[in-house]
Symmetry: D2
Subunit: 346 residues, 4 copies
């Protein structure tokens, strides 16, 4: 089969690889129908993720069709359409029993990282019963690709950890795909005001059409001052970091009201400064999280009942065989006005 293979920093190729087979009784092999590229994949390609080694097939998102199953798989059979979770869960370790699948002792984020991933014609999925979700006939499979990672990430790490409540004033820092996924799912809890902060006017304008009530271009305005003015000096109930650099995290802690929640989503490469000399007495909560994807079934229901439209996040389409071109587009997102790309295995 063909697959996108990482060959060290800056090197990748669409090349022939052996088709995966069932190894463990809990495995399934899935033929990919549609996949996408994640911001994390760009980091991998730069060589920033040392766990990914030469020869690895990249990718941790997608929908597909069951091709084969191990003897202990009972939820799926050949021919079933499935949604692939970016997180692999054994369902039986201490962390899985706490629904903290991200820290599964033999799973977690391993697809396209420690084992071969989904940017390929086929992929082996360990613990298939716990790591795949059935797709009913007639569902919108492109929309569902957004449920592999980006929507549960925005929802769990941002909205749930931030404890967004009806009536809240919230700020989301970063209007990329993850920030926008957070914006869409934050509205499940009816905050009164949603302030979106970014430096890209195109993305801020998209945010407005997605439900943001205020936008701030932090490249042109002092975001702290603007937020404090909009909230009468009180700050926001929830601030959500969806970038992954010190400045945006520190912004989140500068605009938080007493009793508020700062929810970090961003993947950080450096430490940040935490101003405990002012924050110690402000009764705030800061959270970090690698997505657990425990909310995927709920998000799926809300896609099916039209409370959530993930298609809004898709800007570009390619054939899977054009994946190198797709990487170029996605890697140049600001100029291409790209959010998420869909790759179809035809």
């Amino acid at each position: 089969m063909k697959a996108l293979v990482y060959h060290g920093a800056g090197k990748k190729s669409w090349e022939e690889k052996p088709k995966p087979v069932v190894i463990d009784p809990t495995d399934a092999v899935v033929r990919i129908l549609k996949t996408t590229i994640c911001g994390t994949d760009l980091h991998i390609m730069k060589g920033d993720v040392p766990t990914v080694t030469d020869g690895r097939i990249i990718g941790h998102e997608g929908v597909g069709i069951i091709e084969d199953t191990g003897s202990a798989v009972s939820n799926f059979k050949k021919g079933d359409h499935v949604l692939i979770s970016c997180i692999t869960s054994c369902g039986k370790c201490e962390y899985c029993k706490r629904s903290m699948y991200s820290h599964c002792t033999t799973g977690g984020w391993i697809l396209g990282n420690l084992i071969d991933g989904t940017q390929a014609e086929f992929v082996r999925i360990p613990y298939a019963d716990n790591s795949l979700y059935p797709i009913p006939a007639g569902a919108d499979e492109e929309a569902l690709v957004m449920l592999s990672d980006i929507l549960p990430t925005g929802f769990e790490c941002g909205v749930l950890n931030g404890q967004v409540k009806p009536g809240d004033t919230i700020a989301i820092v970063g209007a990329g795909p993850i920030g926008l996924a957070t914006l869409l799912t934050a509205q499940f809890y009816s905050p009164s005001e949603i302030i979106m902060i970014d430096q890209d006017d195109n993305r801020l304008n998209i945010a407005k059409t997605f439900g943001a009530t205020h936008i701030i271009n932090s490249g042109r305005e002092n975001a702290v001052e603007t937020v404090m003015k909009q909230t009468n000096g009180r700050g926001v109930d929830v601030s959500i970091e969806a970038v992954g650099v010190p400045a945006t995290f520190e912004l989140c802690t500068a605009i938080i009201a007493p009793g508020g929640h700062v929810a970090n989503i961003g993947v950080h490469g450096k430490s940040v400064t935490l101003h405990l000399e002012t924050l110690w007495s402000r009764n705030i909560t800061i959270t970090t999280r690698l997505v657990d994807t425990f909310s995927t079934p709920m998000l799926f229901k809300n896609v099916q009942s039209h409370k959530l439209d993930p298609n809004k996040l898709i800007t570009h389409h390619f054939k899977l065989a054009q994946i190198v071109e797709a990487y170029n587009t996605f890697g140049n997102a600001a100029n291409e006005k790209a959010l998420k790309v869909i790759l179809t295995n035809e």
Copy 2:
């Protein structure tokens, strides 16, 4: 009346001041029976708390007898014995309605800070109905002085914010009065293991008699390594910072297990480094809090039912008029083996 008055950094005196009177209809004037000195008072005396100005009577803890009440006070009358909360609460602002009395818009920590405090023969208590608690006849009033600040602080900022649960392994960094108050109240939730970390062997030994299951002298051992070894490399479910310096906060974040809670109690004067480059994916929660004292009635019940013995925290007794001497003892706590001192107004 006589009172302990702050006269700028390093200067205090026990001197004559006018006896306070009822100003607002919700005020009470209380004759102090017993009071104590807080670590915060030592900071004030060093000039570290800029909101405290020359002429201020210090102190925010104590028990006393109602001397006079305003026309709107209905819970108390002259002669009632009362416990004074370190936090003043109006009961009617946004924050008080959320039980976040620490941020009461016209109260919070004002006693011995923005208004005159309890290290005096009399004190005026605003919003008396919400800021005082009735003491029944026969109660142990010395023990109750520990409920003005130290026990709700350890319990709310440490135990509740840390979400200590039955079966947990927890670490408390700092075995001073606050850390020990945390240790006592953490046991309300039956953690399996309580690791106490400090550099003072005397305090660590006291911690053992108070229920610590392990002690670590971080002056002699590498605390991170010892904790990780004791927890089989997993870390603790809850780590509680009860010192207030960067090193102890960073220790708390270095030993936390995935999914764990870091609860800050310490009053910090400097920013700290938060290692988001490792913590972003560890699903942790960090909290800060100025005590709200909403738990005081519950703690009071547990003192009355002998589930909690605050007397353990009292090491020294003085007459109120000897308060300057008491400051010397308390300010030299390690040598004096002092935890909390009781000052009695005779």
Copy 3:
């Protein structure tokens, strides 16, 4: 002044009564601008509420203007426009400190019950700072009358106690004003499906326009069978009782899924049968609640930000002096297609 006075079962009159005055320092006197009639008022008029005695002015909802305040009132001054809560809260008893204002030891539901109420030109409001909410200039005061009782009741007793979550399938039994208020506020939490059950086609059709995804006329269909069929035999995650008779409560417990929540809102006059012989093993939660109105500020924000439109619930308008006629209309709600009536004091 003029007021609607109860004179025993079946007897009421619009008559002259003394204008109320400030009695306690925490009181305010409010001139009524707009008020309404509650289903509970109809029960009172039938003689079903023994705490209401001859001579009582009825009514516990409304907006008005501050006419006078006691010496301890600090949140309001003469001329301020205010929303009146149906629940009076002292802010300082055990229950108020737990935000359970409904059980305030000297307040709770006393307006138009134990003390004179709002169906009058003026009303005295005890504990004004805790029981009134400021109305900013330009707000829609008719809409806000719905926040005195009906919207917090549907939200707190139904939606919050039922723990409605994104993705849930919920059923609301009863499409009267309270059931419809529940329907509006349930959508703050984005349930996937909302099944509305009643015997009145007009109200069910209104429910559809308010966001119900399915309607069942239980006068014509077997509601249990229909719900179980719609949920593939699983039952609903949340069932909310908004009528107050045994049959509707028992319906709620018959359609609940394992792990589900049954939230009772209805005022019951009789005991009900609880089928513990089947329910004991189904991991369900049943709640009851007299509204606390702690959520009023949040609902107010959502009205101001246009997430909630209470005007939908208003079907009829009268002058306050026409209140006896308004009672006739509201008491004949099915034929008059009445939901809530607004009475304006001109």
Copy 4:
């Protein structure tokens, strides 16, 4: 092998049955070391549990040694000592993912009910990785038998569902093994007062030694009156039903304070009367639950750290081959002063 077999109401025998074998890849076969008899087994023997049919091996508690495992079992291998949960969990259905193992779509309470159980020399355990717990060398295996059912049942259905908190006043109705297990585990949350209600003086006296602060013999006293007097007319914060008949459930709802929690544990054979005509406005919560056993690992830790001593519940010992005699003793518990019996497979 030998096993205790049910042959219809009133008929059981210790007889030869085929030794179980691995059927599914997730199965394990366990050689029983120690087992016990549950009150539910007595119900089965009376013919009250229609799902149990002629020929079924009874029993759902025990510890043993792994004899054989299916190909997908990864947590255990031959020779491992294991604790058997009374609840079988697949780890991958909707309910298991919510930690509601009691309602596992292919598991739940099936042992000694829908499939052969543990009162035998060997037992087949489906979904072994999720339904067994490893026992470290040196652990007290008799004590651990109490963790198969009785301790998680008291803890989850009673203590957790009742939301017992520090400072609470709670009542437990029924001082049999389940009520006493509730009493032991309620103390994990440090309630101030624990009132134990039963009609058996022996069990009430045991309750006192287990930590009850008050005992009431409801055969001699009016329990409602006594509780209301002890609580100054307020009622208890939590009442826990551990019997399973209408009178005890109704007692629990009669003594509950406003805002309180009624937690049902008992297995009921009849419906009960719920007095909504008074309870509708009292803001109470009523829960039911079949134990999920999700708390077993936590309870295990608290046994290992000596916070919980299940041996207190064991009053009698038999050889497994003497099980018919053990049934006679356990079935005559009041006269025999029996709580739990241990059956050892020698």
